[in-house]
Symmetry: C2
Subunit: 308 residues, 2 copies
């Protein structure tokens, strides 16, 4: 018979000696690793570190550790990182890589590993996910420009086949239609990067020199557009007003500070982790979609259109 006192003394001894159960032996026996795989497409994009932070905070309190893999938007690295995580017996996945028709999602489903999507919409699968309300975000950007008096508004879209790009583009078209405005010109940026955004902006501004406002699918594309405008001697916002998306870190330090749609990324990570923990606790829990509210942050890159 162990007295409570004995229990306490043993626990204290264990602590002072730095004992902790061997994770290998435990995992081998229980088939659980207390580990979650996190797939991030581009850690250098400032939108992702806050997501990772939210994830880590939510997992840590429950004794889980995040295994982070940065795929650099490279399908091959995505596959090999995914395999490495599988081999380490992660209990679940948080997936922020954004390609549609993703075979890693099929594989996770086949192995019945709980998976939650972050910052990307669902495809046909029944997976839990957390996104910002992209449609409402783009709508607030359109409303802002229209309220300032803009009527000729262009759009720099994200790459094809990426769900956030598609939702935001659809939101742009809908919002203009709802306002009774003709569909503005759209140019796709080849990727969510500054370089691709600069190229796309050059095309858009050359083909449509009459535009007074441009909305972009994310802040990096907006930054590329700023650069293109500068090269061409176009002033922002006097000649063209510009709106970004994400309110990523440093968007307020650009020249000019960028009007953009704020997305609560740290919360996104935390909520995603929480949804995953629910599934880990109860594998029969139903899939959920969480849509986080977003809001426009008005800075100096937008103003009323110049008279022409």
């Amino acid at each position: 018979m162990l007295t409570p006192d004995t229990v306490r003394r043993v626990q204290r001894a264990a602590r002072t000696l730095g004992y902790s159960a061997n994770a290998f032996a435990r995992g081998l026996r229980t088939n659980r690793s207390m580990t979650v795989g996190v797939l991030i497409p581009d850690l250098n994009n400032p939108l992702f570190p806050p997501i990772v932070r939210g994830i880590e905070k939510a997992l840590l309190s429950r004794g889980y550790t995040a295994l982070l893999a940065n795929t650099d938007n490279d399908p091959e690295r995505e596959t090999s990182s995914f395999s490495a995580l599988l081999a380490r017996h992660v209990d679940g996945f948080l997936v922020a890589t954004a390609r549609d028709n993703d075979e890693i999602l099929d594989e996770a489903a086949r192995r019945e590993i709980p998976t939650v999507l972050l910052n990307r919409a669902n495809t046909e699968r029944r997976l839990s996910l957390v996104t910002g309300d992209d449609r409402a975000g783009i709508r607030s950007a359109v409303d802002h420009l229209v309220a300032l008096g803009h009527r000729r508004i262009g759009y720099l879209a994200g790459p094809e086949g990426v769900s956030t790009a598609e939702v935001r583009l659809a939101g742009f078209r809908e919002s203009l239609a709802d306002r009774g405005l003709a569909t503005g010109p759209v140019v796709r940026s080849g990727s969510f990067t500054e370089a691709a955004g600069a190229v796309a902006a050059a095309t858009l501004l050359t083909q449509h020199p009459d535009l007074t406002g441009v909305i972009t699918a994310n802040d990096l594309i907006a930054l590329g557009a700023l650069r293109t405008m500068q090269v061409r001697g176009l002033r922002c916002p006097e000649d063209v007003s510009l709106v970004g998306f994400n309110d990523m870190r440093f968007a307020d330090a650009f020249n000019p500070p960028l009007t953009t749609v704020h997305v609560p990324h740290e919360q996104m990570g935390a909520e995603g982790a929480r949804l995953l923990l629910e599934r880990l606790d109860d594998p029969t829990a139903p899939a959920k979609s969480l849509l986080l509210p977003v809001h426009l942050v008005v800075r100096a890159s937008t103003t009323a259109p110049r008279e022409r």
Copy 2:
């Protein structure tokens, strides 16, 4: 007797069936996890994602996986993350958290877990490390301002007890002395952040309104200084020239684009991982210090001092 052909067929079958050895069982037996713990002080600081990327690239090819922990510069989270990594039997540590007198380093040494420091100098321990050549970097910043004609140069230092802060500050004082200039005024920023940098810049510029040039211990502090100058109606570079450190992502997008010292962070991560792999392959390998070359990138935040 297994023919080579049989071997091949078995291997193929294993591959198609998706077999991979159970990592728990292997770890239990071999006491190796093929896993490396990475401690990062602040993933939201753009200097760290490239380091992580370099680490991951170098580890992946050798079959190791990085377990990333972001400590938010919080000693408590550092300790708990470190314990979580220990419990997962990481084979080694890459440590970029920068507090001096770090008990986690003692603990790693006690357990004989190979450890490499990134972006921070050694304390008394005999550990391998990789840093940028901070001294030379600050010297190039001083030389640049002096060559432009500046004589009254101030310095915004990093927080006390952080090795990079101390080395760069010493470099500033040395460089001025070597140039035969009086030591310029120094104000410490409470942390390597924009907010703390803004506060420190306010103090420096109030106490020394005659300064024509300011060098900062990192780009975030410089960004805070830019903000303070803007609030006070001081123009950069016309009134005060400003130099950052790190050449972090987006330093070229600031207003004005920041003159700063470029540090090869991705290479830093990769070299650090390589040093760690050396130790893992041969625990008797001697400790090495790697000093990576840096260079000044001149942008629009520095110019010749105004006549007064």
